[in-house]
Amino acid sequence: MTFMRPAFLALLALAFCVSSPTSFAKPAPELVLQLATGDNDAKVAALYAIAGSADPEALPILEALRDDTLKSLGGKQAIIYDGETAIDAITGAKLAKVPDELEDVISNNRVTLALEGALAALDLISPDKATRLAAVKRLQDSANPAILPLLDKALSVETDAQIIKLLRLTQAAAQLQHADKTVRLAAIATLGASGEPNAKQLLAALLDKEDGKFKETDESIRVAAQHGINAINSHLKLGEALGGLFTGISLGSILLLAALGLAITYGLMGVINMAHGELIMVGAYATFAVQNLIHTHAPGLFEFYPLIAIPVAFCASALIGVLMERLVIRFLYGRPLETLLATWGISLILIQLVRTLFGAQNVMVENPAWLSGGIQVMGNLILPYNRLAIIAFAVMVVAGMGLILTRTRLGLFVRAVTQNRQMASCVGVATPRVDTIAFGLGSGIAGLAGCALSQIGNVGPELGQSYIIDSFMVVVLGGVGQLAGTVYAALGLGILNKLLEGFAGAVLAKIAVLVFIIVFIQKRPQGLFAMKGRFVDN
């Protein structure tokens, strides 16, 4: 539609001269007649006139045109006929008898577009805020001088800051073709300061060339437009950079949640748990189950289901973790490669179990209202609530784990066993019990990760498989036996991955990260592989 805009504007200017922009008590009869019987140009002109007047009483006629119930009677009378009764569109009088020779009003694309603009214009003065917001957003795309009076009118009564901002932008866009040069320059300045991608397009249109010559003859306007574009570009770049940083931190927080449980079971206890990804999956499915239960039994609580799912997911995964430790892993301490294979077997069984219980397809986990949507920080930078929530959640989980490990008796025991198993046992620490509890804790945190992941991605039986390699990379890079390393490694890998993705695409970025890790451990093997406690070679 953009290419039609210049033609439009010329037409509009015409329409604007013909019809007076003052407000009518009712839509002028000749405009209504024009709508029903005129040719396309006349219809468009009439629509813009109606839009400019912003008269709520014109609404039924516009809706009739939209719904194809506006008919023409012999090219002389406008009739609204809904299939049963016929009403004279101008007088509002009901016709005694439905005339036989009603003709449909044919609208082409241009008319439809103008009609949408006119309907939006009428919405602009609606008492409902959401309707007004939607209307101004729709108007933004078809800003033209004809709606200026309407915008002025709306601005004079509008109180909402967000709508006022949008109205001003739309107003500036409409003023770009104004007769007064100072008004145009002011409009360009407003658009340039907005930082919006749409505004950039509008300004770029001012620099269009035709036959090698600028369409815009005034050089000072062109210079101003170029300045405006530059300002928007730098604004957009900043938004992009911040957006990249945010997605990097978001990915980092997800990796952190996924790897944190591993940092305990692997980093502190030296157990290679290949089923860790499946424990994440169990947490996600627990969230799914809680969602369904609440949906059927307590729909009123649906908004809060993720909060209820958090402890459930923790307990579900922790329970499976404790069972794994008691039944299998306990017999394999000190044989890491065998542990790896046995836990891989457990992961296969868990995957198939979930397939049997919930089906092989992905299941739907919905965001509650407070987790959907996001904050629009800049024109091209939206921070989704669910990602923000996960970042906050990851911070809380890390803090919670830090507290448990450093401030509680259990944490003391876990650290003691990690540092020297025999010695801890000698001074009376029940090492088998500590092992079980620590493993359960690590598994439970995997469940928490699953609960968080269910809010941003697909939940399916293979969910865990896609995270296991990444989370091992985090733990390997971060070094074992400490939480801080895991945090740095997760955030670093997340941001690095997203940065590289910008240059090279997702797959190459993954490969590059892997190569980076291999090269990195060439440089600092002992720093990263500071094997503490039970993991001493031979």
Binding site: I272, L332, R335, E338, I346, L348, I349, L514, I517, N538
Partner: protein, 367 residues
């Protein structure tokens, strides 16, 4: 201790068994398949020949795994990448051997025409020559293993770290091969082969030749493996497995030893992959999924690590059961495989062959 185990495995009885196997695979099966008419009770159908040929390829892979894991203590969770690379090398030759008979009647493989490629990428140049393609089959995985191994072993990455890094490497490669623009046929990989060295690829005679070649390769690699593990080199390898630090303190640098066996193992895997593709008729990135790699480890573990014969038996057992299970009760295969992983590590740490050996050695002690 290790030496005696191996030599016992290759006692007179083992040599007889090996000769019997060679006779069976190289003479009797071909006769029963080609010369005995269909319908005869002794006839072996081409389906069985292909299935057993496929399992023998897996057995070669398990043997390669035994060399690095069973004898050197390096558990690779990425061996399927070498297998798949070998397969892709052979697959590309087979794609080129179609000539202009593909769906698009082009010199380029069908998938490249489909993706609007104008010419072969440089790394596939020359693959229409069989010998060059076979050179690629050996060199590319060998070189990859060498470079990766050099960096990994030099910084003394071992144990589970090494396993996890190999898994990540294979995972990254799988992602790369899944892409359309990398020239590996994307999701579908290479398929629709027609002939190999001018012979139709589905003909029973070709199948039997491939089958016999696979059997010969299996026997050859078994003998090579025996030669290596009974040599002085093999003893250093076992020493590295049992106490790497002590080996270093004794003045040995483990790097060349590990690098040698690791690269050799990769090349053996690649050759198995190259034998596998013409028999199965397809190669796609799914072959190098982490799950496939880790399955190789369980074949080796079930049969018995560090026994050479064991992995062959393990690969045969698991894959035999798998082809039956996935047809009879596909739902339960993962439960079964998972249980095998757990039970073998808990109760059969030495595998089937290791268990039998220890049973016999107890008997001997009593006698």
């Amino acid at each position: 201790m290790n030496k005696t185990l191996t030599s016992r495995l290759f006692g007179p009885k083992a040599w007889i068994a090996l000769s019997a196997f060679a006779l069976l695979a190289l003479v009797i099966v071909p006769i029963l398949n080609l010369a005995v008419p269909e319908g005869n009770a002794l006839h072996i159908s081409t389906y069985w020949v292909t299935l057993i040929g496929k399992i023998m390829c897996y057995a070669i892979v398990a043997l390669a795994m035994d060399l690095v894991w069973g004898y050197t203590g390096i558990l690779s969770l990425g061996h399927s990448i070498f297998f798949a690379l070998g397969g892709y090398g052979m697959g590309m030759y087979l794609m080129r051997a179609i000539g202009r008979e593909g769906n698009y009647q082009s010199d380029l493989p069908d998938f490249m025409v489909f993706l609007n490629w104008k010419s072969l990428p440089w790394y596939w140049q020359g693959t229409e020559h069989f010998l060059y393609a076979m050179l690629l089959v050996v060199l590319v995985p060998g070189l990859l293993a060498f470079i990766f191994g050099y960096f990994a072993f030099r910084s003394r990455i071992k144990g589970v770290y090494f396993s996890i890094i190999t898994q990540a490497m294979t995972y990254a490669a799988m992602l790369l091969f899944f892409r359309n623009e990398t020239g590996f046929g994307g999701n579908n990989g290479f398929t629709d082969f027609k002939r190999i060295l001018g012979f139709p690829i589905t003909a029973p005679e070709t199948r039997i030749v491939l089958f016999s070649l696979t059997a010969a390769a299996l026997i050859g690699f078994l003998l090579l493996g025996r030669f290596i593990v009974t040599s002085k080199l093999g003893r250093v390898l076992a020493a590295i497995r049992d106490a790497e630090s002590r080996v270093m303190f004794s003045g040995y640098n483990p790097l060349p030893y590990k690098l040698f066996i690791w690269t050799l193992s990769a090349v053996i895997c690649a050759i198995a992959g190259a034998l596998y593709v013409p028999q199965v008729g397809i190669i796609n990135p799914g072959e190098m999924s982490p799950a496939n790699s880790i399955e190789i480890a369980i074949w080796t573990a079930v049969g018995g690590r560090g026994t050479l014969i064991g992995p062959l038996i393990g690969a045969g057992l698991i894959n035999g059961v798998k082809s039956w299970f996935t047809v009879a009760f596909p739902e339960y295969w993962l439960y079964f495989l998972g249980l095998i992983f757990i039970l073998v590590t808990l109760w059969l740490p030495r595998g089937v062959v290791g268990q039998i050996q220890s049973y016999f050695s107890k008997q001997e002690k009593r006698a």
